[in-house]
Structure formats: structure tokens, C-alpha cells
């Protein structure tokens, strides 16, 4: 695997293989000595054009646990504001003999463009691009679900499981990569959102769509329920006017006590973070026994170690 740009690029077998490696990486993280020499001598740049301390720290931890040298570069505060282009930034990194570039960018497709450009021959890992993809988030979600509901043994997928994603699907890269990955792993995916927060074209996605959360919970009971972050500013006219008020959103689509009680006993509550407590999820749900939100974060490091291992080792393919 040279790059990880989209969950859609992972077929069933490759996705399972990544999760298997992630489980092995997780096993090493229970040891006293957590550091592995695997990527010694490799340089990984965390190129974050958009703030995300959580994701950046997760990648940084993963790279350091594998003994890579890590450089954090957040052009937002430096050269981009002076007008340096994506191209020049990447050319600069290339000149420094970077092996891997972890890219977070507000523009959909920026990691794809870097990977397919002549600007660098480094491996590119998408750490979230615009409203497109966030493949490592979906991998850590899948790892969490697989481990909790299937046992986490090597070779397992998510077949027979139902995953429900609720909220702002339109603007969510987590939802897009989730639908791609979970369905590739054999799960059934259900999306729940007001039509304003679903993209035109969603009918072609391999997912069932509901506009009514209570009906969805009754008719397609989930094994894993994933609540997406909703940005409050989306309700204003300037923000697009996607919903009338936070109160109405919370009433219609928030995970509250009655909805929590309606879940099957084994069902998991998930959230990619950061949460808007009281909007898409109540504290009762976020902190309850079903919540695996903290576990998701822990699994994030293992998944990113696996992805770094799989993209940065291996002989260079001819011409790559």
C-alpha cells in the first residue's frame, strides 16, 4: 500500500488486513516498552492545513511509537497565510526527503492531488480532506466495532452487523469514509439525517436513508450507533440554514435517554469527536456504559501505527 487516500480504495481483504495489523500494534501498546524500531530512519511530516490537535497527536504518537522522526507542520499559521501554494509546500517537504506525509486539508481531494503529483514521491496518508474522506477515522471505528462485537480476532470483518450514522452527513468526511469502509467489511449501513444535511446523490450510496431517528432505531436497530458532530453555525442563514435551531435538532436527531434506552443491550454508542454535548449527544449517552468513545481514541493510535507501517515499509514499486 503506497498511500491511504480514501476508504473506498480498500477492498474487503485489504481492510481486514489493516485491522489485523492494527490489533497487533495495539497488543504492543500494552507493554512496558511501547516503542518499536520499525520505522527507524523514516521521516513523517504531519502536514495540517486545518486545526485538529486530536488527530495530529494521534498520528504523532503512532509515528513515534514506530521510531519514525516526526515533523509537525501547520502551514495555516506560517507560509500559506503568506500565499505559499500547496505545491510549494509539498515541494519543500520533498526536498527534505520526507518518507510519509500525513495531510489534513480543508479542500476535498488535496491529499489525492499530492499523491498523484510529481511534487513528491512520499507516501501520502489522508488525515481528513474537506468533506471527502477521513479513512483512518473509519478504520479505528471499524476496529472498535470489530473488537467489541466480534472479538477482534484476525481475519474477522463486520458482516452481519448494522451500523447507523446520524447527523450532518452532507459535510461529513467521517460519514463518507464510514459508508465505504463498513460496507466493504460487510456491515449494513443506515444514515439518519434531515434531508438538508444529506447530499444530493446519496441515493446511490450503499446505505439505507431515514429522516426520522426514532423510526430508524425501530426499523433498523443498530449494533453500533455513530453520532456525527453538528456545527451550530450551520443553522444560521449565512451558514446555509440547514436546520432551524439547535433545540429542534437535538429533539429530532440528538441521542437522549429514551433513544439510548431503545438500543439493544449490546449496541455501542460512538462519536468521532469532538462532541457537542447537549446537541447531538447527551452526557448520559456519551459517558454511559455503551459508550466506546474513549476506546475509539485509543484504537486511533493502533490504526495509525498500522497504516504508517503498511504505507512506509515494503520495497518501492517500480515506477512508484
Amino acid at each position: 500500500m503506497k498511500h491511504l487516500l480514501s476508504a473506498a480504495d480498500l477492498g474487503h481483504d485489504q481492510a481486514v488486513a489493516v485491522l489485523d495489523v492494527a490489533e497487533e500494534m495495539a497488543a504492543t501498546q500494552a507493554r512496558e516498552i511501547k516503542k518499536l524500531p520499525t520505522l527507524r530512519g523514516k521521516t513523517v511530516v504531519n502536514l495540517f492545513f486545518e486545526d485538529s490537535t486530536r488527530t495530529r497527536i494521534s498520528f504523532e504518537t503512532a509515528a513515534k511509537r514506530l521510531s519514525a522522526d516526526v515533523i509537525n507542520f501547520s502551514p495555516k499559521g506560517s507560509s500559506v497565510s503568506k500565499g505559499e501554494s500547496l505545491k510549494d509546500t509539498v515541494l519543500t517537504l520533498g526536498a527534505m526527503h520526507t518518507d510519509g506525509i500525513v495531510v489534513r486539508h480543508p479542500a476535498s481531494g488535496a491529499p489525492y492531488q499530492i499523491a498523484h503529483s510529481t511534487w513528491t514521491d512520499a507516501s501520502v496518508i489522508n488525515a481528513g480532506d474537506g468533506t471527502h474522506q477521513h479513512p483512518t477515522q473509519s478504520l479505528l471505528d471499524a476496529m472498535t466495532i470489530r473488537r467489541r462485537l466480534k472479538g477482534g480476532q484476525a481475519g474477522q470483518d463486520l458482516s452481519g452487523l448494522a451500523v447507523m450514522i446520524v447527523g450532518d452527513v452532507l459535510h461529513s468526511r467521517v460519514a463518507r469514509s464510514g459508508v465505504d469502509l463498513f460496507t466493504a467489511l460487510g456491515a449494513k449501513v443506515t444514515l439518519v439525517a434531515p434531508a438538508t444535511l444529506l447530499p444530493v446523490g446519496v441515493e446511490a450510496w450503499p446505505a439505507e436513508v431515514f429522516h426520522d431517528l426514532d423510526r430508524a432505531l425501530a426499523e433498523a436497530p443498530p449494533d453500533a450507533l455513530m453520532m456525527l458532530r453538528v456545527q451550530r453555525e450551520r443553522m444560521s442563514s449565512a451558514g446555509g440554514g440547514f436546520f432551524p435551531s439547535p433545540q429542534e435538532y437535538a429533539r429530532e436527531y440528538g441521542l437522549d435517554a429514551p433513544r439510548l434506552a431503545a438500543l439493544a443491550p449490546h449496541a455501542l454508542v460512538m462519536h468521532p469527536g469532538p462532541m457537542n454535548r447537549g446537541l447531538e449527544i447527551t452526557s448520559e449517552a456519551a459517558d454511559g456504559a455503551r459508550s466506546v468513545i474513549v476506546e475509539q481514541v485509543a484504537n486511533g493510535v493502533a490504526v495509525r501505527m498500522a497504516v504508517l507501517y503498511l504505507t512506509l515499509t515494503g520495497a518501492k514499486e517500480p515506477g512508484a
Binding site: 481531494g109 488535496a110 480532506d129 463518507r176 446523490g201 446511490a204
Partner: protein, 428 residues
């Protein structure tokens, strides 16, 4: 200089020799014998078309000479078989005064490759607030007959109504860039399945169709003439078909890229495929091909939109809209419409020469190839094969969407007002 073109196929299919002398077609028929000092052009196997007329070209000068100049754009036009182009008004300064349109017109004359017909802006500074001095532009040396805020939609229905009414005084036309601005804020590509997957903000078809629907009704109401730029959706075609059935005086254009390409191209995130209006679905592309074939869409306009490399060498969302087209339009129409039997060469001559000349009220262009007519014609070799290499094109910009493609058919010679601007495939 006089020329004798031997053995060309006229649009009708009839073989003829053509003598060019004194800026006119002296004789068409034959066989003709070369006179003393007359250059003979062997046109065996070539199709002779009246010089092409582009109703929609961006020459960028003044203001963005890094993308294109009137000279480089004129050479590109000639290389593509054109003898007349309409230069859009979104220059810097905007072509919204007699002074600017006359400057562009004079630059065209100085370049000397095609008839450069400036388009005047509808509103001052393309701001969509106040009518520009349309009459002054119409009565200037440039004799502007097409007004457009292209790049921007004349969104205000009152301003659009006034423009349609006002241009009646000098027989001009308003060419609308149909794009409802609120529905397309931040829009990056066609809104549909592909946009939902690649995560780029959608430009819905309805944003084009709603403006066209409004405009044809306005044109009917005030009894004026409307031209719709770059029609891209099946719904727009239906509205125009309906308007024509009602005898509303509307004409419409389609670009080569909307005939050829679809939104699937956005999956590459290559900004060369970012264009406004966006590449649409395959159903839309088929609808505009069918509409061009049946005449619902009157003309092919290139919307040739050169951009410097840095405007495309960036994130999709940050890239400029637009692609070049002058040098590839005729081969694309040939492949898509003629080879497939959907259009004859007479249809092509109408859609790419006669009708655009009529829309732009260009008297000496788009004329039939007959004795006594102005010597504007192009010779096209339908059997030629060539690979599009951006750096070898005449346009100063490299943003062709068909870079690396092998195209079928190529302009061999172009004559404008009796002068050869292209001979043996080379601009002269």
C-alpha cells in the same frame, strides 16, 4: 495573393475547386486552372467549411495577458479554423465602455488573424447593478452587437429585463450566463452522485435551468432577443425547446467540453476539469448532443477560457474555472457529431459559422461558400490524427481538457478575408 484550392469537398459533399482573389471567393466550381502567380492548395480529401465563428471566447486582454493576449488567442482561433471570435467582456478593466471595446477591437485588427468582435458588458463592472453604456459600445468602432456579463449571471430580473429591452434599439442580443447565484455559493462541480462521493460542493442543474426559464419568459414578455451561453443540462434543453416552440426569440450554445466530458472527470481532482457551468452527468451530455443535432441548441461556442498554470496547479477548490477550446473544438465536433452520423458538414457549418455570425450580426462571416462571398473559409482534414500537446498549441495557456488525447481531424488551412492565416497546418 490569390489561391486556388483544388479538390475540396464543400459542406454539401460536392467536390469543387475554389479560387480566392481580392479577399473574395472569385470562383467556386471547376475544375479550375491555376493562373500565373496563384498559389495552389491541394485539398484532396479535405472538407471546406466557411470560416468558423466563435460566439464565446475569452481573450483575457486587457488585464490578464499572462493567460492570453488578443494576438495569442487570435492565432489559436485561426489554428482551430476560426475567422471570427467574440471576445468576452470580463477583462480588466471590464469591457463596459466604448473605450475598452474599441481597444480590444483594435488589438484584434493589429493581430490580424481573425475578426475580433468585442462583447460588451451588460452591467457596469459586471456588478449586476447598473446598465453599462450599451448604446455607446454599439455605436463605437467596435460595433458591439453582443452584450454579456459572462462569468457572472445577470441575476436581477429587473436589470435583465431592462437590458433585453434596451438592446432592441440597436439590434443587439443579451447573452446570459445562466447561474442562480444563491444556489451556487461555493459550488465546485455538478451536484449529483459524483459530487456526493468526492465531497465537492454541488452546482445544481436547477441553478441554470431556473434562470433560463425566467429569461425566456422575460424575452417573450418584452419581445426581445436572448442568447443562452453554454447550456449544460437536459432540463435547460427542455426549456429552450419549449421556448422555441412558443416562438420566443432565443438562441443557445453548447461548448465542446459539455458535449464530450462528464462530471466523472472530477474524481481525478485535476482542476483542469473545473469549469463553469460544470461538467454534467452523462445523461446531460447526451441531451446536449441530441439538442445540437436537432437544432434546439443553435451553435457550438468554445467558452475558450485560458488560465495561467498557477491558477490550475492547486487544490480543486482554489482553482479557477475554465478550459481552453479554440484549437480542439472542430475535431471534437467531428468525432462526436459527424463521424457518428448525427450531423452533416452542412449542419456543422451552420452551428459553427452561419448561426453564430447571425447571432452576433457579423455581416461578412458565416456566409456560404459561393462565388462573390467573402473569402473566409477553413480546410479540415477529417482523416488526420494528432495528439494534443498543450505546449504545442497556439494558446498561451495549457488548460486544455484533452491534453494527451488523440483527436481525429485537424485544420489544415484557414483563410480570413482572402489572406491565409493557416497553411499546411501551421499558423502563418
Amino acid at each position: 495573393m490569390s489561391y486556388l484550392i483544388k479538390g475540396a469537398a464543400l459542406p454539401s459533399g460536392r467536390r469543387a475547386d475554389i479560387r480566392i482573389a481580392g479577399g473574395a471567393l472569385a470562383e467556386v466550381g471547376g475544375p479550375l486552372t491555376a493562373g500565373p502567380g496563384e498559389a495552389v492548395v491541394d485539398a484532396e480529401g479535405l472538407v471546406a467549411l466557411p470560416g468558423l465563428v466563435d460566439i464565446h471566447t475569452h481573450l483575457r486582454e486587457p488585464g490578464r495577458e499572462d493567460a492570453e493576449t488578443v494576438l495569442s488567442g487570435s492565432r489559436a482561433a485561426a489554428a482551430g479554423g476560426y475567422t471570427c471570435v467574440h471576445a468576452m467582456a470580463n477583462t480588466n478593466p471590464v469591457a463596459d465602455t466604448a473605450g475598452v471595446v474599441e481597444q480590444v477591437w483594435r488589438l484584434g485588427r493589429a493581430a490580424g488573424y481573425v475578426d475580433v468582435r468585442p462583447v460588451g458588458a451588460v452591467s457596469v463592472g459586471l456588478q449586476g447593478l447598473h446598465l453599462a453604456e450599451l448604446a455607446a459600445m454599439a455605436r463605437s468602432a467596435a460595433q458591439v452587437r453582443v452584450f454579456s456579463d459572462d462569468g457572472q449571471c445577470v441575476w436581477d430580473p429587473v436589470l435583465m429585463r431592462r437590458a433585453l429591452e434596451y438592446v432592441k434599439g440597436f439590434g443587439a442580443v443579451v447573452a446570459q450566463h445562466a447561474q442562480e447565484p444563491r444556489l451556487t455559493e461555493g459550488a465546485q462541480m455538478h451536484e449529483g452522485v459524483v459530487s456526493s462521493q468526492v465531497g465537492l460542493a454541488g452546482w445544481p442543474a436547477v441553478a441554470e435551468e431556473s434562470i433560463i426559464a425566467r429569461d425566456v419568459l422575460l424575452a417573450e414578455h418584452v419581445g426581445s432577443r436572448l442568447h443562452v451561453c453554454h447550456v449544460s443540462t437536459a432540463g435547460s434543453v427542455e426549456i429552450i425547446r419549449w421556448a422555441k416552440a412558443r416562438r420566443i426569440d432565443v438562441t443557445a450554445e453548447v461548448t465542446p467540453h459539455h458535449l464530450l466530458l462528464t462530471d466523472e472527470r472530477a474524481r481525478t481532482y485535476n482542476p483542469v476539469f473545473k469549469v463553469n457551468p460544470p461538467l454534467r452527468s452523462s445523461d446531460d451530455a447526451e441531451a446536449v448532443r441530441a439538442a445540437l443535432a436537432d437544432g434546439t441548441l443553435d451553435v457550438v461556442g468554445t467558452d475558450h477560457a485560458p488560465h495561467p498554470r498557477e491558477a490550475k496547479d492547486c487544490e480543486w477548490a482554489a482553482a479557477a474555472f475554465g478550459m481552453t477550446g479554440l484549437e480542439t473544438a472542430l475535431p471534437i465536433v467531428h468525432q462526436l457529431m459527424v463521424e457518428t452520423g448525427r450531423m452533416t458538414w452542412q449542419d456543422v457549418a451552420a452551428a459553427m459559422s452561419a448561426r453564430p455570425a447571425l447571432i452576433g450580426r457579423v455581416a461578412d462571416q458565416g456566409r456560404p461558400l459561393a462565388a462573390g462571398e467573402p473569402a473566409n473559409l477553413t480546410l479540415f482534414d477529417p482523416s488526420a490524427r494528432w495528439t494534443v500537446e498543450p505546449e504545442r498549441l497556439q494558446t498561451a495557456s495549457g488548460n486544455t481538457p484533452v491534453a494527451g488525447w488523440e483527436l481525429r481531424g485537424r485544420t489544415v488551412a484557414t483563410f480570413w478575408a482572402g489572406r491565409a492565416t493557416v497553411l499546411e497546418g501551421e499558423v502563418v
